[in-house]
């Protein structure tokens, strides 16, 4: 078995070498130039088109237009073609692109997804560029998941974590002047807001991002590695406590116990001011206001309350990284695009435009003036990432935590449901590739 794996790895390495040679021939002149002294000189354009896949909602149109103008001015003759991708089914689309001969040159992917692509051999190793890009200041919630076996495949793009967004009018009407700081206060406030046809909180039963934060506050993580094997922790006392709090809070609203947060923006936009709170990244407030302008200026933000007032609740760092497929035909130009997006100027611009966190801790001032950004920074201090395994993306693809949460929300035994989910998570994480 072991020898076979070695052979397979060898063949894989040899083949990727062949593939790389194949794709290099078209950009030979770029190679020479970038190897010349002063390696940071921009790669030549020569009528090439750099294709970039960005996810829907990652960057506003005028930002993309400005980026295009700047890049094309720096690289005469080159064209930047930014293609916006939908989140739905993106995993399979990226997989297909990495396996093809005609991959895009830069691809954005969720931070929890990078490791599997990196481990597959389909991504260019960017470890040598980390220093030049100022990698020591990157948010670890973005840069750590971008690594496999110490090699960097994902360059942090932006981060976002979940906060509580509340309706300022409803809080004022209920006489609540300061946002809750502890779980107990939060339950109390939410109970007071949950009257008549007004919902204290809109919290779908399957928001596993929120749940994993609660779990972290109880001192456990979804899965931990001991030795070479992963162990999932959804059946212990911390998991039961976290699920218990989730259930209590979830019951103070009318969101479905068997749904996730995907349709939340539509629900909130159609709501007309009857939902007092919901949990989301601050940028979602903008999306909602865009489809229902009547809600403009109604939303306030506070970090997810912790167990006690000393610190905010832990939050899973969400966000995106940028990666260069091994099959890209313009890898040098691709790197130049990433370098531009990674620069302080363009990171700050992006953060201000989208209310997301920039990829470096040193740039935090770009968002703290904004109330949503401030709440997010507060939560980010206590941020954490999903289990660092190339197989984690597979767990999310078929997420057993959702079914587990629904079972608990509908009165199932949390320990039994947790054990079942553990089995599924462990099996996936411990599968050898």
């Amino acid at each position: 078995m072991k020898r076979r794996l070695l052979v397979a790895a060898g063949v894989a390495a040899a083949l990727t070498g062949v593939a790389a040679c194949g794709s290099d021939s078209s950009s030979d002149d770029n190679k020479k130039e970038s190897k010349a002294p002063g390696a940071s000189a921009p790669a030549a354009g020569n009528g090439k088109t750099v294709r970039v896949w960005l996810m829907k909602g990652s960057a506003p149109d005028d930002y993309i237009a400005a980026l295009k103008t700047k890049f094309e001015a720096d690289h005469p003759g080159a064209k930047l073609d930014v293609q916006i991708q939908q989140w739905n089914g993106i995993g399979q689309k990226i997989t297909g692109a990495l396996a093809s001969n005609d991959a895009p040159d830069v691809v954005e992917a969720g931070n929890t997804q990078i490791a599997q692509y990196g481990a597959s051999g389909g991504l260019k190793d960017l470890s040598s560029k980390v220093n030049e890009l100022g990698g020591k200041d990157w948010l670890t919630g973005l840069s750590d998941p971008g690594k496999v076996d110490g090699k960097t495949y994902g360059i942090p793009f932006y981060a976002a974590n979940r906060v509580v967004i509340y309706n300022k009018d409803l809080f004022a009407k209920a006489g609540i002047t300061t946002p809750p700081k502890t779980r107990a206060e939060w339950l109390d406030v939410t109970t007071r807001l949950n009257t008549g046809d007004q919902q204290g909180i809109y919290l779908p039963g399957q928001n596993w991002y929120f749940y994993s934060g609660l779990l972290k506050d109880e001192g456990a993580e979804i899965a931990t590695k001991s030795g070479s094997a992963w162990k999932a922790n959804l059946d212990g006392a911390p998991a039961v406590a976290a699920a218990g709090f989730y259930k209590q809070l979830q019951a103070l609203g009318k969101a479905a116990k068997d749904g996730d947060e995907k349709t939340q923006p539509e629900v909130l936009a159609a709501d007309g001011g009857k939902i007092a709170q919901f949990i989301a990244v601050p940028g979602e407030a903008e999306t909602i206001i865009k489809s229902n302008p009547a809600l403009k200026d109604k939303f306030g933000f506070f970090p997810i309350p912790g167990k006690d007032a000393s610190k905010a609740g832990a939050t899973l760092t969400g966000g995106s990284d940028l990666m260069v497929p091994e099959a890209s035909k313009n890898q040098d130009l691709a790197y130049d695009v990433i370098k531009l997006i990674n620069s302080d100027e363009w990171q700050s611009k992006l953060a201000q435009a989208t209310k997301q966190l920039p990829n470096k801790t040193t740039l935090a001032s770009a968002v703290t003036a904004d109330p949503g950004g401030a709440a997010m920074m507060e939560g980010a201090k206590n941020g954490f990432a999903t289990p660092n395994s190339p197989n984690w993306a597979s767990v999310e693809e078929n997420n057993p935590i959702k079914a587990y949460l629904t079972k608990v929300m509908t009165g199932g035994d949390p320990a039994a449901a947790g054990k079942e989910a553990n089995g599924s998570i462990e099996k996936t994480l411990n599968t050898k590739n």
Binding site: Q116, A255, D258, G259, E326, T406, T431, N433
Partner: protein, 334 residues
């Protein structure tokens, strides 16, 4: 595979028209042409070639590829590098050692059995009812059946998902109105209730085909037989068990075997209902399990092994079945 056999079976109760048709066709094609030897012998092959090529490309190639995959170590890494080693029976051994596989296989058999029995019973009753209905009602029922049959699978599945929603589903609303305690009941929280909904959906989707086929069979049985049975004092149950069923046995057999195939391989309904937010691990059948291993977990080799096993199980079941059927037919002919 079953097309030619299916023709033969369907033809049994309606022999006269079938005998006429081919002779008529032969007569029509005979006089005008006088092709030379080679052209004459090659033409039929040329004519079927496009169809054969199409089938080979769309069916045989994927099947062969799938079987090959099941003997390779083929995962995400191999997909990217496009090279994989043959590992013999390793994947099959891994599948058979896994308790999960046996649990899923058992569920697939139970699920198929329950669905097929329900479909056959309800369809038979519907077909018998159609025979008794007056013209107007019969047309109304037929239109209903065809409409149910014409609804695309995913559309029907989405509608069922909405019907059974926990927060604003029509089913919960109706049950509450009828006095049951189903306020906010979450159908898709547990394996059993989810499978119940899937079963309702699949049975509903299958009934039109089964009913219409059985009804077509029923219309071919001569009314004289029934009349004389009735004169001899046979009740409806006796008539069905001693006359209708024996005469239409081949049609019942055909519909049952087609339904077994259809249910055993049903995927879209289960995946669309429980794949994203439901308890998929509690409701998955073999095809869903194969898809999950391949597309979600990127274990393409395991998916290949599981789907190959699934096909083999079906083939074994149906071969056994067809042998039984032909034996009976031969005996009946003697």
């Amino acid at each position: 595979m079953s097309a030619s056999k299916a023709d033969a079976v369907v033809a049994t109760p309606t022999q006269p028209p079938r005998k006429q048709a081919p002779s008529g066709a032969r007569r029509a094609s005979k006089p005008p042409r006088k092709p030379s030897g080679i052209v004459k012998s090659v033409t039929p092959y040329l004519l079927v070639a496009p169809a054969i090529l199409g089938i080979a490309f769309l069916l045989f190639y994927p099947v062969v590829r799938n079987v090959m995959l099941s003997f390779q170590h083929y995962r995400f890494k191999q997909l990217i590098s496009r090279s994989a080693d043959y590992v013999g029976w390793e994947n099959y051994q891994a599948v058979f050692k896994d308790d999960e596989f046996w649990e899923v296989t058992r569920r697939t058999f139970y699920f198929t059995a329950i669905n097929v029995v329900a479909i056959m019973v309800i369809s038979t009753l519907c077909a018998l009812m159609l025979m008794k209905l007056g013209k107007t009602m019969r047309i109304v029922v037929l239109i209903g059946l065809v409409a149910a049959w014409a609804t695309p699978v995913i559309a029907a599945t989405t509608i069922f998902k909405w019907l059974f929603r926990s927060d604003n589903g029509v089913v919960n609303w109706a049950l509450v109105k009828l006095g049951f305690d189903y306020e906010g009941y979450t159908w898709f929280a547990h394996g059993t209730s989810t499978l119940t909904v899937v079963t309702l959906l699949i049975v509903w989707q299958s009934i039109p085909f089964a009913t219409l086929t059985l009804y077509a069979g029923l219309t071919t049985v001569s009314t004289d037989v029934y009349e004389s049975a009735r004169l001899d004092g046979a009740g409806p149950v006796r008539i069905f068990s001693s006359i209708t069923f024996p005469i239409l046995r081949p049609i019942f057999a055909l519909v049952t075997s087609l339904e077994v195939i259809w249910i055993f391989k049903s995927f879209a309904q289960i995946w669309a209902i429980a794949g994203e937010n439901g308890p998929i691990n509690d409701v998955r059948t073999l095809p869903v399990y194969a898809y999950q291993q391949g597309m979600s977990l990127k274990l393409f080799d395991m998916a290949g092994a599981i789907s190959t096993i699934t096909v083999l199980i079906l083939v074994v079941m149906l071969v056994f079945y067809f042998r039984q059927m032909f034996k009976q037919e031969r005996e009946a002919d003697k």
